[in-house]
């Protein structure tokens, strides 16, 4: 099997204390959506942060396009084409929507108007509110700003930590639609989701983590169909 586009391979480690991840593997192919689900405290966010370099791995490696990036800082990974949307505090509340997008493109020295135009096309509401302080927007709109900010570096991988936490079901559906659209442009998506059922529906690949280790790994459809997964993690 060919090497996936991005892979956190057999990762073991934690935040300095006891290990949280145990031999955990997460991967995503180009232009596909991979979703990490699992019960509370399963280490879903930790696994994603490990892929992004926000904690030190004791064992295992992270590779992007076959290149070992295990020792790179998160900032350096941004330069390599990875983008990360944290679960909370993911926008500059006191700055306007447009300024948020500009800050997302801080590392770029070329013309960013085209990318900004693409983000506005993806999230038309942001174009309307471009001169408003991002902190004044609704929860769903804030998430759009957060995703938009991350897209400004023209990443090859977009990582989302529970993008639908705290938004209404309608907004959640809308957000998932947008994420599918983003994936169609060739950007790989890796996301952690609390709403496992809806997330697996749009996922090409699903990872069910339990206690920091892989329990089930399959396509989204297959996991949805698996009776054991359904019983244990999707509420029947």
């Amino acid at each position: 099997m060919a090497e996936p586009f991005l892979i956190g391979d057999a990762m073991t480690g934690g935040y300095g204390g006891a290990d949280i991840l145990h031999d955990c593997t997460i991967a995503v192919e180009k232009g596909e959506i991979a979703v990490i689900v699992g019960p509370n405290g399963a280490g879903k966010s930790t696994a994603m942060k490990a892929v992004f370099g926000m904690l030190k791995l004791r064992k295992g490696a992270v590779r992007l396009k076959g290149e070992d990036i295990t020792t790179l800082t998160p900032q350096a990974r941004v330069a390599k084409g990875m983008a990360f949307v944290p679960q909370t505090h993911n926008i500059f509340t006191s700055m306007t929507v447009e300024e948020n997008l500009e800050m997302g493109a801080f590392l770029r020295r070329d013309d960013i108007t085209e990318t900004m135009e693409q983000v506005y096309e993806l999230f038309p509401i942001l174009r309307q509110k471009r001169y408003q302080a991002a902190g004044e927007l609704s929860g769903g709109q804030r998430q759009q700003v957060a995703v938009g900010r991350a897209l400004m570096t023209r990443p090859s991988v977009l990582m989302l930590d529970e993008p639908t936490a705290g938004v209404s079901p309608i907004v959640m559906d809308e957000l998932f639609d947008r994420i599918i659209e983003v994936a169609r442009t060739g950007i790989s998506i890796l996301m952690v989701e609390q709403n496992a059922r809806q997330a697996l529906e749009i996922a090409d690949k699903g990872y069910v983590l339990v206690q920091g280790a892989n329990r089930f790994t399959d396509t989204g459809k297959a996991l949805m169909a698996d009776p054991e997964v359904r019983r244990s993690f999707l509420g029947g």
């Binding site: 998160p74 941004v78 926008i91 500059f92 509340t93 801080f106």
Partner: protein, 336 residues
């Protein structure tokens, strides 16, 4: 009833002095609030940074005067200002390199940084006293007045005069220019925006690839510029004395907190709130009231709410009221 004379008296003794003082406080508070926003601690050395900056400006002013260079009717110190800012900026950058940077690395609690700034304050205070001494230094030159009370009376035929000193006018004009530059920088330039982003959300700024060392360095340079300008204007308007600058710490922080720590626009508003309250509470209103009310009701006393010796109490009282009733200040700074 003589509204016009009452108004002129008010302008002369309250409005104009408070406007100049407010501009000085606003510049001082801007520096303090920027450092708070970016470096996240209250810099107790800010007053002494102002003293240091003013001292370098005075030294350059003396140098220029010795060379026979003057600025016409304007104070020579304005010409010396850029040099003073440069030297002060170098001092602050060196301080950051030698002192503060370590505490950022180890992610020390803000209160430790405040204590460290106490140490820096001691040293800066010592340097200033060592170089220029503790006495009063008057370095104002050029024209003293734009308009004197006598000229004003002649022009208008009113009983009361309105004197505007050159230093007051210079203070307001320079402050307006400095604030305009600062806001243009923060709102329009890439570096300025990255500073705001860093102040708003440090982690996300790092994720966006903003270089924290650069942001911090630029902050110190701007703080040096603001502190030197504020201190020089204050020194021109009053006089330079090492110790008074330490005492300015209280009204400056009061202004920054009243406006909302971390909020530049708040610092400006806070500066004027503090300055006007201080002047109005300590001004003897007898003359103004005598012009307004009928003769029979003219007050006997001075109608002074508080003696000028208690001006600190005014900024302090405002500070406490704001902290108790709106802890984030007028313009929603970072708080609690």
């Amino acid at each position: 009833m003589d509204i016009l004379n009452a108004l002129v008296t008010f302008l002369n003794f309250v409005f104009v002095p408070a406007l100049a003082y407010g501009a000085q406080l606003a510049l001082g508070a801007l520096g303090a609030t920027l450092i708070y926003g970016i470096l996240r601690f209250s810099n107790f050395a800010h007053g002494d940074t102002m003293a240091f900056g003013t001292m370098t400006v005075i030294l350059f002013t003396w140098g220029l005067q010795a060379l026979g260079i003057s600025f016409g009717p304007l104070p020579t110190a304005l010409l010396a200002l850029p040099f003073g800012i440069a030297v002060t900026a170098m001092l602050l950058l060196a301080t950051d390199r030698g002192v503060y940077r370590y505490y950022r690395r180890v992610k020390a609690a803000p209160v430790i940084l405040v204590m460290v700034s106490l140490g820096v304050m001691f040293i800066m205070n010592g340097i200033v006293r060592f170089i220029i001494g503790v006495g009063d230094v008057n370095f104002t030159d050029g024209e003293r007045f734009i308009i004197t009370a006598g000229q004003f009376r002649e022009m208008t035929g009113l009983q009361e005069g309105l004197a505007i000193r050159m230093t007051q006018a210079v203070t307001v004009v320079v402050a307006v220019i400095a604030v305009a530059l600062l806001f243009w920088f923060l709102q329009k330039t890439r570096t300025g925006k990255s500073m705001r982003a860093f102040s708003d959300n440090e982690d996300l700024a790092l994720l966006s690839g903003i270089n924290p060392d650069r942001v911090v360095a630029v902050t110190w340079i701007i703080a040096a510029a603001l502190a030197t300008t504020a201190g020089t204007l204050y020194g021109l308007d009053k006089s330079f004395k090492a110790f008074t600058y330490f005492q300015l710490l209280l009204p400056i922080f009061a202004a920054a907190i009243v406006g909302g720590l971390g909020s530049p626009i708040g610092a400006i508003a806070g500066g004027f709130v503090i300055a006007f309250s201080e002047v109005m509470v300590t001004y003897a209103w007898k003359k103004v009231i005598t012009y307004i009310v009928p003769e029979s009701m003219a007050p006997e006393g001075l109608v002074q709410l508080m003696s000028t010796d208690y001006k600190f109490a005014v900024s302090f009282a405002i500070l406490i009221i704001v902290l108790l009733f709106m802890p984030t200040g007028l313009f929603k700074g970072k708080s609690v």
